[in-house]
Symmetry: C2
Subunit: 293 residues, 2 copies
């Protein structure tokens, strides 16, 4: 799915919702634990109930590989189920991979190759630089979603700090151009590695006003915004600072939707929650003129 | 295995060799492809032939998960085989994981939990900061091996650059304390997250003189040094700059050992190569006084 097709999907579904399939076995509705593959049954029911409301699904690999080979089977079956849907959706492997070129080439193959998991995109950690990201950019109409600014407390450790020039210099009236923050360096440097057609960025929503700075650097790339919902971000703030005239946003919600209920009606409660979010998104898309009423 | 036990193992085997199990299906000896699980059979033969020469084995996850559920089974079987050995070895999951706390908690469980893969350590990407690393530090006598300086070209993109103060200021005779490089920030900041008993660092060997700078910051932590052998690093240089009085090094070689031959004698050729490296290491350990002649 290329950028244009994703934009069309957003206009068609009047939504930029990504549902995170953080399918934690410990939080599944108890009645599903009797199934042979509880995680797959859970995902299938969630997807079936919400595919008209969501443009994207994002399985988080941590929740699958902790079950070893069985977990990988649940993931493979989930992807096969998504491909069988009538309505197209964009898929994100939230794997946060990145290694030396030869290893990244295999990670890219694992997640993006049509004969493997066949995701539309995969989240990639930029710490190891260009050759660790480049293999993910070689798949036509697929995307590397590069971590820029994440929504966790640890983002403050390396992504955000800049050096502070000596106070003495400022007293002398000498202005020093401040160094770019690491997440800005990532945006700027990786800008040249690919294009809006094969790169998106993760941009944390707990700092919505920072989306404005990010949009100054990359006005047209899609942003994957985590942390709206359970992690407390505000959808309105995200749209105000992060939305462009093509939308340019995928906003993720995981627990707030998929674990809305642990009863037998869990999929219906998830649908209700997803619809609430979709309706807010429709309003925001209309206000921005991305879609008409 | 705690730090002391690893040091004892180094003294006992007179080696600080880590063998990277980058078991690429495309490079396996052709006769193994007829086996039901070629990767496991390959690993088993390599380990059997080299376990008296190597103190550590490091399966690179990229080469396993590209085969989906089957690849995870090969990895599980490899780990079970290692546990069955008479001679103890240290195991490293070269997975380069790291995510928000809740996800990292599951990644840590996957690789370190005795009821899961039960590795002694796992490589961790520090980009997302403290809460992404912290769950890997909760397992007694196990280690997070944090990426500091990697050996690939992309290390120059974010790990190495520093801001350069304006030339004008230098002309004015005003000295500005230069900002720490990102890899130095990682060493310094993560120093407080744990101790030498649960943290090691990846320190790239293609820049051996940088090991001296690293040792100035962290004199006693173990360093995992990739890139000796096929990637061209010099073992002598690494030892000169990186070895401390307890050794403090695990030096990895992957392709140079495991793919020394594609014949039916591949394990024996691998043994020869491993022995060459072990003998060099024994000499270096003796010179440094870590072991006696």
């Amino acid at each position: 799915m290329n950028k244009k097709a994703l934009q069309d999907l957003i206009r068609e579904k009047r939504s930029f919702l990504c549902i995170g399939l953080d399918s934690d076995m410990e939080k599944l509705p108890p009645h599903l634990l009797e199934e042979e593959d509880p995680i797959f049954e859970f995902n299938k029911a969630i997807i079936q109930a919400t595919a008209h409301l969501a443009v994207a699904y994002k399985p988080n690999l941590a929740f699958y590989e902790c079950h070893g080979a069985e977990g990988w089977k649940s993931l493979e079956k989930t992807m096969a189920y998504i491909r069988s849907l009538d309505t197209p959706v964009f898929t994100i492997a939230d794997a946060k991979r990145g290694d030396i070129g030869n290893s990244s080439r295999l990670y890219a193959k694992t997640f993006l190759d049509p004969e493997k998991l066949d995701f539309n995109s995969v989240t990639v950690n930029p710490y190891m630089g260009h050759d660790s990201v480049e293999p993910f950019l070689q798949y036509k109409d697929k995307f590397a979603i590069i971590l820029a600014l994440t929504s966790n407390p640890g983002a403050a450790d390396f992504q955000l700090p800049t050096s502070h020039p000596s106070g003495n210099l400022e007293k002398l009236g000498i202005k020093i151009q401040s160094r770019r923050k690491l997440y800005e360096q990532v945006l700027i440097r990786s800008y040249d590695w690919g294009s809006e057609e094969n790169i998106m960025f993760v941009a944390g929503a707990t700092k919505a006003e920072m989306l404005k700075k990010i949009r100054n650097i990359i006005p047209y790339h899609f942003l994957l915004v985590p942390g709206v919902g359970a992690q407390g971000g505000s959808l309105e703030e995200v749209a105000r600072y992060g939305m462009n005239h093509e939308c340019g946003l995928l906003v993720n919600s995981s627990r707030g939707i998929i674990f809305a209920s642990r009863g037998e009606d869990f999929h219906l409660k998830a649908q209700e929650k997803a619809q609430e979010v979709q309706q807010k998104m429709e309003k925001l898309l209309t206000e921005k003129g991305v879609i008409s009423k």
